[in-house]
Symmetry: C2
Subunit: 66 residues, 2 copies
């Protein structure tokens, strides 16, 4: 479950902590999602996408394998 969260967050000059707070989850949750060994819920994916000004597809669609 690879995704583009980490690279996009860094481009936005945000820390995991900042993204987590904006999205309303803990830093650890963001870290695990970025690591790709996690299966977040749809609402969380949508929140992350909006926080990073991206769409679901841009962050989570056919990033690799799957």
């Amino acid at each position: 479950m690879k995704n583009n969260v980490k690279i996009t967050r860094i481009k936005r000059s945000m820390t995991q902590e900042q993204l987590a707070r904006k999205v309303g989850v803990t830093r650890q949750t963001i870290g695990l999602i970025e690591k790709g060994e996690y299966n977040p819920t749809l609402l969380l994916c949508i929140s992350i996408a909006k926080a990073l000004d991206k769409t679901l597809d841009e962050l989570f669609w056919e990033v690799e394998d799957e």
Copy 2:
């Protein structure tokens, strides 16, 4: 959490049961997701999208409110 699963499934002439089987979940899970009062995981959303030949955005992105 509205989405376009139901309308797309019907266009494809599939039953909830058929979609559920193709995706590997139960009919009830599909029913609840279509009803929109459910928060499926990303992997399930991706499976549903592929089963219906759509992308995440087409099924789950800014369908309404949010």
